[in-house]
Amino acid sequence: MKKSLPPGIPPKPSGWGKLLLATGLLVVFVLGLLQLYPVQHFFFPGKYQAIRLNLVRKECRKIDKGLASLQTQVDNLTKLRDRTAQLTLSPSNRALATPSPTPADGARSNPASSWQSMIHAAKKKRVYVARKLNYIEVILKSMDRALNTPCSADGSPSSSRTGENGKTCQQILEIRALLRTACDRLTDLSKKLEKLQESGTSPQAKTRFDIGGR
């Protein structure tokens, strides 16, 4: 027969282990249950929308970071192109015409391949940002639909919206404004990148870039 501990005496180490294990698993169980969509929607309506908005905001930060990184890549490519052009124009420097701005040290050994890999990396980043913009646009549209009436275009929530809905709508509009700026920046950087690609050492087949038909 199992002995029960008298009150006040702490359980043995294995007892603590059992308690910890059971508690940990129970915490996961209860929180998991509460985070199931139907349960969450019943007890905390609006929580899911808040999570989605949080995710979108997180994505916006990633887009910003991506755009900053793309800007740096385009700047580096521009510097490299200008420097190469300068050195090629000056006959005394022709023998040394393997320039490289700081981030492209590899250019010293093989400028063409370095140029290509830099272009490739910039295009990859561009696609990364464009995909995120595409997704967010769709999600915002959908969230807008979920709020029944679209958020007014003048930047303020429509008068029928009150409380949580109005707040969400305001947030959607703010994110939209951010996205518009990001979209313009991406289009601008894409054009620059295309020009760089055209003027590059070994131009690739050109494909007009468009952000998912926007």
């Binding site: 294995s14 282990g17 059992k18 294990l21 059971a22 940990g24 698993l25 129970l26 996961v28 169980f29 929180l31 998991g32 985070q35 199931l36 969509y37 899911y48 995710l55 979108v56 997180k58 994505e59 490739h120 295009k123 990859k124 561009r126 696609v127 464009a130 995909r131 995120k132 595409n134 997704y135 967010i136 769709v138 999600i139 959908s142 969230m143 639909r145 979920a146 690739q204 087949a205 494909t207 007009r208 870039f209 468009d210 952000i211 998912g212 038909g213």
Partner: protein, 537 residues
């Protein structure tokens, strides 16, 4: 009275229940959604095997390609990926006809065999039927595994050959010919299933075996096995142009892939807290010099864990970090998880039962801790009814199987089968291969590269999700469709039912919808050439 016969029944019954459940989950409504792009590639090549005897990428009407025509030689012979899955599908088509069910059936059955083999591996080697039962039950109820095993692709074949090679390794391969041959053959066939799986698994398993079972590996026999496997795979090394594809290995992607694989692994295969427990359990080996565990199951679990870790590490330089390259590790993971459930049960029955419930019925142990630590990879396009959110995966899975899903490929196929004439041309931005398989039209575009059009296509299928090629340029088909739509007025839009989803029946949990998406992406609109300018086939 407890006679040996009753005891036997008692042991066999749980296995029968597991296999019956597995058969239901794997085979029920196997054709409820049509092949998506990758499956249709296998199915299309298998269809051509029936016609030509070898996998040809061109059947006189359509070209099968997702890599701008790099997958085949000048005779259109497929040389991009190994042929085993193609021949398995071809055999199924021969027996069952050119149907979705027939194409998926052999792979679903192999998934079921995999469940049985997991049970057999544990019960035969360690005599622990509870452990064997929980391992098999975990695999049976693993929704990502089920999704992959129901595909007309190599996934379940890879998993089966992986577990078969471990089964052979645990048999007396050192002195008996049967297990040695089985090991050799399983590894050789794994190569012909997918050489990426072969390279990553064999490399990791060899290193782990040397580390843990060195004393049980006679040199001569080991060398014979290596040579034997080498002979089996040698023709494939040349046939599948591995050298050429090796240039796609990207050392710069290692870090990115490692992060992605780790996220996939903890979110969909092996919960992070359980991995941390194992780390703590083996702490004495990692941080002290207590030595390797002497106890056989303990050593075997460590072996499996090392194989899994090594496998993931070896996969990281590969160009794409996708969960599908880890599917063959599911059986290994469930064996470890089954062992942990048994340990937990023996330690504290309530905790053991709760752990089993959480692992089998929910994904909460996978998702919640990752979320708390801010490590969860939850793409913004995922919704609450997907596996990246806390869910009851089996419930979602059953909802999908028991109610019709408005699959994007299904909607396109239905409409075009009803309205397009045989021989008409369809230019699509993506999803050309399902249309090739199910319709009698000439389907161009998608990821095939530049399409040589002799006349304007009869149908245009632009897709909402923009696709870029490996050089990160817009796909040629995408550009062409946009040009055609902006420069001519010859096409009229036709709105189809359902959403324009990205893939269709893609098993990847980041993309697989069990129920229609909560947030609609875009309506599915195709364009039909107006009648007067229409070509008559």
């Amino acid at each position: 009275m407890d006679n040996p016969l009753n005891r036997g029944h008692r042991f066999v019954l749980p296995l029968i229940i597991i296999l019956a459940l597995g058969a239901f989950l794997l085979l029920f409504h196997l054709d409820h959604r049509p092949f998506w792009q990758d499956e249709a590639e296998t199915a299309g090549l298998a269809k051509n095997v029936l016609k030509y005897g070898v996998p040809r990428a061109y059947d006189g009407l359509n070209i099968i390609s997702q890599e701008q025509g790099r997958e085949f030689d000048q005779n259109f012979l497929w040389r991009w990926s190994p042929w085993l899955q193609i021949y398995v599908t071809a055999a199924a088509f021969r027996l069952g006809g050119l149907t979705t069910y027939a194409g998926r059936f052999p792979f679903a059955v192999l998934g079921l065999v995999c469940i049985f083999l997991v049970y057999r591996l544990v019960s035969h080697n360690f005599g622990d039927r509870a452990w064997a039962f929980w391992s098999a039950a975990l695999l049976t109820c693993s929704v990502p595994f089920l999704l992959y095993a129901r595909q007309c692709r190599y996934y379940s074949l890879g998993a089966l050959l992986t577990v078969l090679s471990i089964y052979a390794f645990k048999k007396d391969w050192q002195s008996k010919t049967g297990p040695a041959l089985l090991l050799c053959l399983a590894l050789g066939l794994l190569f012909y299933t997918n050489y990426l799986l072969f390279l990553s698994f064999t490399g990791a398993a060899f290193l782990a075996a040397v580390l843990l079972y060195y004393s049980e590996m006679p040199w001569t026999r080991s060398l014979t096995l290596i040579i034997g496997t080498g002979i089996i795979i040698l023709p494939g090394l040349f046939l599948f142009r591995i050298q050429q594809q090796a240039t796609m290995v990207n050392l710069g992607a290692i870090n990115e892939n490692l992060v992605k694989y780790c996220a996939d692994f903890f979110q969909f295969m092996f919960p992070l807290p359980v991995a941390l427990y194992l780390l703590w359990h083996w702490g004495r080996i990692l941080w002290t010099r207590a030595g390797l565990p002497k106890e056989s199951p303990d050593r075997f679990i460590l072996f499996l864990a090392l194989v899994v870790i090594g496998n993931i590490l070896l996969l990281t330089p590969a160009p794409q970090g996708e969960l599908r390259y880890l599917v063959h590790l599911y059986p290994l993971c469930v064996i470890v998880l089954g062992w942990i459930i048994c340990r937990a049960w023996r330690f504290h029955k309530f905790s053991g039962a709760l752990l089993a419930l959480l692992l089998i019925g929910t994904n909460w142990l996978n998702v919640l801790p990752m979320d708390w630590l801010g490590l969860l990879n939850r793409p913004v396009h995922n919704d609450a009814a997907m596996l990246t959110y806390p869910n009851l995966p089996l419930k979602l899975y059953l909802s999908e199987l028991t109610s019709p899903y408005p699959d994007v490929n299904q909607n396109l196929i239905r409409y075009l089968k009803a309205h397009a004439q045989p021989g008409e041309t369809i230019l699509t931005a993506y999803g050309d291969l399902p249309l090739q398989f199910y319709t009698s039209c000439q389907v161009l575009g998608a990821l095939q590269g530049h399409s040589h059009l002799t006349r304007p296509p009869d149908w245009l299928v632009p897709r909402w999700y923009t696709r870029w090629n490996r050089q990160y340029d817009l796909n040629a088909s995408e550009v062409l469709i946009r040009q055609l739509l902006s420069h001519t007025t010859d096409y009229q839009p036709v709105a189809l039912a359902g959403e324009d989803e990205i893939f269709g029946n893609q098993p990847d949990p980041y993309f697989h919808h069990f129920v229609p998406p909560m947030e609609s992406s875009a309506p599915l609109v195709i364009y039909e050439k107006k009648s007067p300018s229409r070509h008559t086939p």
